[in-house]
């Protein structure tokens, strides 16, 4: 069919994907992408993982991307196949995860005719992607794919959609290798050296400094994390990480104060509140981190290093901004610091650390242990202790279990923590874990879940079984949408409106039905044995941990409160206030 030098669109597409280093596609076939699936059938360079729902395909690609640093790739059909990816795309946009999503489309002559399984996908995905393309000419296909991968991985990473009309993938066209495509999109990676010198000066004169570091450093790569660790240790300053930044700096290092923000540690939030110099690298002053803005780190000089200029001065006005890639900027910071033979102010720093140690002595993650019911924190601590030597990849769903995992699991390396931070997508963890396990077949991959979240993409258990992906699903089952219940208890007078599910599946039987292994623990004494049994099984496992239903996640900065107004535990309710500011601004 194809003449010499010309290929079909589907052939061009697969060739371009291979040239972009794609090894695996997460997808689901349908009418509009049949030419592509036919081509996939004829080759063996690209692996295809058949998911059970398109949303899961995107989360799987996110897990794959986040754990490898590569671009994740998705292939779905037109109409409903494509609309099902929206949540995943929005999630990847919020958390800056590089994903290329190939969507089928009706043939070009039918676009706009309300054809069967037609949806305006470039229109629908415009606000939830970094960029998107509709390919109308087979000759433009290769160029578009190369550009899409470049856009997805460069600068602040993000999801890119390529909409592929059926006639474009069927028709003939010419292939262009990546070397023939000059990218137009060139974000700034080197920071302004004068600003970096100014930053060094501010850092060297700091009395009460803190590093506040986010997912941007993880996205920048392992080199950036190493440089960060080096620089932080050179200064001897305390460092706190955001939810997305966990692993960028070793949690076992005494300089690490833990996570900050709404469920962050007492010492991290008070260090933020009391600091005189804040060095933000790759974080975005998210509302879950800052608390009430007009009381946020009131006495601090703020330095903000970010690859995305639109993150700077968005929520919080800063004193010095450096636009650039974290690795490049950190390298320059270290260079200037060394060249000028800078020293931190030892005396001031010592006094600062002694205050921090007082806060640390509060032991804010402490909880009332029990020998009758399984405390969720206990279950996670045991999971951490029994798996840490295997350096596991941890995914989570969204809610209390996610915060407890962030608080009680300790990460010494980047790319081992996959969670939905920005969008807060229940149902993220299981498919993300699937993507991680595909990328790391030999590794231990655990999805820490809640019984409600897990049911949002539970169908992917079938995918795990089909591909023999031995993901361990660790459900903290408290019979409630725990975080909703917690807010209703603390803020809405204990009126538990629709946060309790009277009927849950029997997760052990459910695992069995899927062809996985189901385990259950109902008493603290059973926790270790169940975890050990879970680890011994070389198949997908669902663990049903029956935990204390009334346990709340502390510490907590109530909505609308400041970093120094944390609630430390159930008995510390005095500071509770309604969730709205004096000027009527509603806080979520």
């Amino acid at each position: 069919m194809a003449q010499k030098d010309t290929l079909t669109g589907a052939e061009i597409l697969l060739k371009a994907l291979v040239d972009q280093g794609v090894e695996v596609l997460f997808g689901y076939p349908g009418g509009a992408v049949l030419p592509i699936y036919d081509e996939l059938f004829k080759q063996n360079r690209l692996r295809h993982v058949l998911v059970r729902h398109e949303q899961a395909a995107v989360h799987a690609a996110e897990g794959y991307a986040r754990s490898t640093g590569k671009v994740g790739c998705v292939l779905v059909t037109s109409g409903p196949g494509a609309t099902n990816t929206i949540t995943g795309l929005a999630d990847a946009l919020c958390d800056s995860i590089p994903v290329v999503c190939l969507t089928g489309q009706v043939p070009t002559h039918l676009i706009g005719n309300d054809a069967f399984q037609e949806a305006d996908i470039t229109g629908i995905t415009r606000p939830c992607t970094k960029h998107n393309y509709l390919v109308k000419d087979t000759n433009q296909l290769a160029r578009t794919v190369h550009e899409a991968f470049h856009v997805a991985r460069s600068g602040r990473p993000g999801p890119v959609v390529i909409d592929l009309p059926k006639d474009v993938t069927q028709g003939p066209g010419e292939y262009q290798p990546p070397s023939r495509v000059k990218p137009k999109y060139k974000p700034q990676v080197k920071g302004d050296i004068r600003a970096i010198e100014q930053a060094v000066e501010i850092i060297a004169n700091a009395k009460r400094p803190v590093f506040y570091v986010g997912g941007g450093v993880v996205n920048s790569g392992p080199a950036a994390c190493q440089l960060l660790t080096q620089f932080v240790r050179m200064t001897g300053f305390p460092i706190t990480l955001t939810l997305m930044g966990l692993g960028a700096f070793p949690a076992s290092d005494p300089l690490f104060l833990g996570m900050l923000g709404m469920h962050g540690t007492y010492e991290a939030n008070l260090a933020m509140h009391g600091c005189d110099v804040m060095i933000n690298i790759g974080a975005r002053f998210d509302d879950r981190v800052t608390g009430r803005l007009n009381a946020f780190a009131p006495e601090s000089t703020k330095i903000h290093i970010d690859i995305d200029p639109s993150s700077i001065n968005k929520n919080v006005a800063v004193d010095l901004s450096i636009v650039g890639d974290a690795a490049h900027v950190l390298e320059d910071l270290i260079k200037v610091w060394k060249a000028r033979q800078c020293r931190a102010d030892e005396r001031a720093l010592k006094a600062w650390w002694s205050r921090i140690e007082e806060w640390r002595a509060q032991d804010c993650l402490h909880y009332e242990s029990s020998n009758k019911v399984i405390k969720p924190q206990y279950a996670i601590q045991r999971l951490y202790q029994l798996t840490r030597d295997r350096n596991p990849y941890i995914c989570t769903e969204v809610g209390q279990h996610q915060m407890w995992a962030a608080q009680h699991f300790r990460f010494d390396r980047p790319n081992h923590w996959m969670t939905s931070g920005g969008l807060g997508t229940m149902g993220y963890g299981l498919p993300a874990a699937m993507g991680v396990q595909v990328a790391h077949p030999e590794a231990l991959v655990i999805d820490i879940a809640g019984e409600s979240s897990i049911q949002m993409n539970i169908q992917e258990m079938a995918t795990l079984c089909q591909y023999r992906l031995p993901v361990k699903v660790f459900i903290l089952n408290n019979q409630y949408m725990g975080m909703v219940r917690q807010w209703q208890e603390l803020i809405h007078g204990g009126r538990y409106s629709e946060s309790h599910m009277d009927s849950h599946p029997d997760f052990v039987k459910l695992a069995d039905a899927f062809g996985a292994v189901g385990l259950r623990a109902t008493k603290p004494g059973e926790v270790d044995d169940v975890i050990k049994e879970m680890l011994a099984v070389d198949r997908p496992v669902i663990v049903d941990m029956r935990t204390d239903a009334s346990e709340n996640c502390f510490p907590m900065i109530m909505p609308g409160m400041a970093h120094n107004e944390m609630v430390l535990g159930p008995e510390d309710r005095a500071m509770e206030k309604p969730g709205s500011e004096d000027d009527g601004m509603v806080l979520v």
Binding site: R126, H131, N294, S310, I312, N313, A317
Partner: protein, 171 residues
């Protein structure tokens, strides 16, 4: 910080973009999605050889919001250049309006007289109506339309603002 009462200013922003499908939707979607104002927006191809279009946006906001708008625009992949003409020195900004005035007698004479003062041209004339073409800064066009109101104003069509920096330097 967020509560500090800040001055809201009007800015004219020039944006050079690839002339491709959906680029205007991206810009407009950005403004609606993030809650920014658009007071005026014009767009046309200005460089056919490189297939570039120029979008001129008049918007208003605090200093922080205006900075955000520019940074968010720069983040769009098909955007080549974003220039805040209001900040970057003196600029010329012009708008064209077609103004339809109907009526007879003294009002008709008065309309013609005012049009002359504003150097507006009558581009269509019937026994009962004129269509005037008036060009100038937004304030001049506003003033002309206001004066036409009592004289039988029936319809207005405006182009929105086209703006360019003074001097020899390009965008």
């Amino acid at each position: 910080m967020i509560k500090a009462v800040e001055e809201i200013n009007r800015h004219t922003i020039a944006v050079l973009v690839d002339n491709e499908a959906g680029v205007l939707a991206r810009v407009i979607g950005l403004f609606s999605g993030r809650g920014y104002n658009i007071e005026s927006l014009t767009v046309a191809e200005v460089d056919p050889r490189n297939s570039l279009s120029r979008i001129t946006i008049v918007t208003s906001g605090t200093r922080m919001i205006i900075e955000q708008i520019k940074n968010q625009l720069r983040r769009l992949v098909p955007v080549h250049k974003v220039s805040d003409l209001t900040l970057e020195g003196p600029q010329v900004s012009r708008e064209l309006a077609l103004v339809k005035v109907a009526g007879g007698g003294d009002k008709r004479v008065e309309a013609l007289r005012i049009a002359d003062v504003f150097r507006a041209r009558a581009v269509d004339t019937t026994n009962e109506s004129f269509v005037f073409e008036v060009v100038g800064a937004t304030e001049k066009v506003d003033a002309f339309i206001k004066l036409m109101e009592p004289l039988g104003l029936v319809e207005v069509s405006r182009t929105g603002v086209a703006a360019i920096a003074r001097g020899s330097n390009p965008l």
